[in-house]
Symmetry: C2
Subunit: 295 residues, 2 copies
């Protein structure tokens, strides 16, 4: 595990540098917008999604400069969703990764715009020919990310989450909610590697299946952290779901069965990678990490 | 002018139908999100940007099905920016096109998400091969729209607008603000037609120059409406800029010189279209409309 933490840390460094270069500060009067974007996207985080993109692209020997650009774009989308999710009208969170949330630091209006700007910038990055010389690849990346992040994906999941606060959801409903809210962005993080690598349908489906199981395991682990995690280690408020009376995997299954379910999903996820042989180890390690992390 | 109003109305009908088909209602529990998207994007509006896209594409005999898809995508971006701009943390507007704004109707959280979803959906539409079979065209459309709408374009302009409320801007600063906030989306609406039509550099530059002048004329006309317009006809609160002590073209130039400047810009805009001969009349009529409209 320690070795994997080093690998993960090194990958995070790479993506941070890429993001830093994409969002350079300047002297123009609108600079506070760039500052708020940088604040929201450069403040650490484990960079799980970027890791998935780069590791999946590595399976097909994609040039790292390319996979890092795509990884950075997906991370921008992830971070924009956090900025908007934290807003007073949404989850009203004041702490994220142990730091004041974007709207606490820069004000609500700037936070709304910083989120909008990160989302837009992500598509600019993907459509730029620096990302890939083949326009088919660029266009496919845009389409896949837009679908995963849009009303049938992440944003739709956030809407379900709002509605869920008002009523009890059952297991299939929670699963659908989580698949849309977090699963699809995790899935596209892997799939993007396959698109960059012009993978065969078989390889692409295997990655998709891996990511699907991983996404659910990730969410169960998240729910467990909300119940069992230490606020200081987790870096954000815990016990929120129970306080809000929200149905989660843990509230529906109980801690023990939820943990077993996560384990099962991770094993299943890893099996999908068998066709890649040893090359798949990196993604397998990530799956283990996802359910063992403390934050 | 009456003939042009008919043409504009017919084009608006076409784009409304296209938008309607792209945002079909369904029974899934997240349906309120789609409802809020539809509310924000289907409630009329003059559809100036879609008109520009279709008219510019017509110069190159682009299939109308294609130009309408791109026009719809650009209108989604325009409407998302209105939804977010109207939020309490931003302009705090309760009325838009004579109707309650999205957050008044659906609540703030849903309005934030509906804006996010419209922005994301726009890129999905552009990257879909229904928009164009050539991935180069699709990828170019995404890149152009993302640049026009992102931190160096529209969102950057909205940030400048926030900052402008705190201090006096001079003429070059206002021009830059307006160019970013509204001009670049208007420019890309025209440019998209050229991209779809694989136009020569010369034609593309001519359209860009036309759109640049048109965008400024449009904004001056908007400022004039805020000063002189009737709230009922305009469909939103007027006199807002003066109330907020905001520097505008009108506050800097006075009504008379602002009107002259708009006239000059429209004449200049139309000259750029001369190379298209009679085919350019439709865009020329639009330029006249922009400074003569009452709403």
């Amino acid at each position: 595990m320690t070795d994997f933490l080093k690998t993960l840390g090194a990958a995070a460094e790479d993506v941070n540098l890429t993001l830093e270069r994409m969002l350079e500060m300047h002297d123009d009067p609108e600079a506070p917008l760039i500052e708020a974007m940088r604040y929201s996207v450069l403040d650490g985080g484990k960079r799980i999604r970027p890791f998935l993109t780069v590791a999946a692209a590595d399976l097909f020997n994609v040039d790292k400069k390319r996979s890092l650009r795509v990884a950075a774009a997906i991370e921008m989308v992830h971070c924009y969703s956090l900025v908007h999710d934290d807003l007073p009208a949404m989850d009203d969170d004041e702490l994220r990764r142990g730091q004041p949330t974007c709207h606490v630091k820069f004000g609500e209006a700037t936070a709304i715009l910083a989120g909008d700007a990160l989302l837009t910038k992500a598509f600019e990055v993907l459509a730029d020919d620096k990302t890939h010389t083949d326009p088919h690849v660029r266009s496919d990346l845009v389409l896949a990310l837009a679908r995963a992040a849009g009303p049938e994906g992440m944003v739709g999941g956030q809407m379900l989450d709002l509605i869920a606060e008002e009523g009890d959801l059952n297991m299939p409903e929670i699963t659908r909610l989580q698949r849309m809210k977090t699963g699809m962005l995790i899935a596209v993080s892997c799939e993007a590697g396959a698109i960059l690598g012009k993978a065969t349908d078989g390889a692409r489906h295997a990655l998709h299946a891996y990511a699907h199981d991983l996404g659910l395991a990730f969410q169960i682990a998240d729910d467990l952290l909300d119940v069992e995690g230490d606020e200081k280690t987790v870096g954000k408020k815990t016990g929120k779901d129970e306080e809000a009376g929200k149905a989660t995997f843990v509230s529906l299954l109980g801690v023990k069965r939820a943990r077993e379910q996560a384990r099962l999903l991770v094993d299943q996820a890893c099996e999908h990678l068998d066709l890649f042989g040893e090359k798949g180890d990196s993604l397998k390690n990530m799956a283990e990490f996802v359910i063992n992390r403390q934050a």
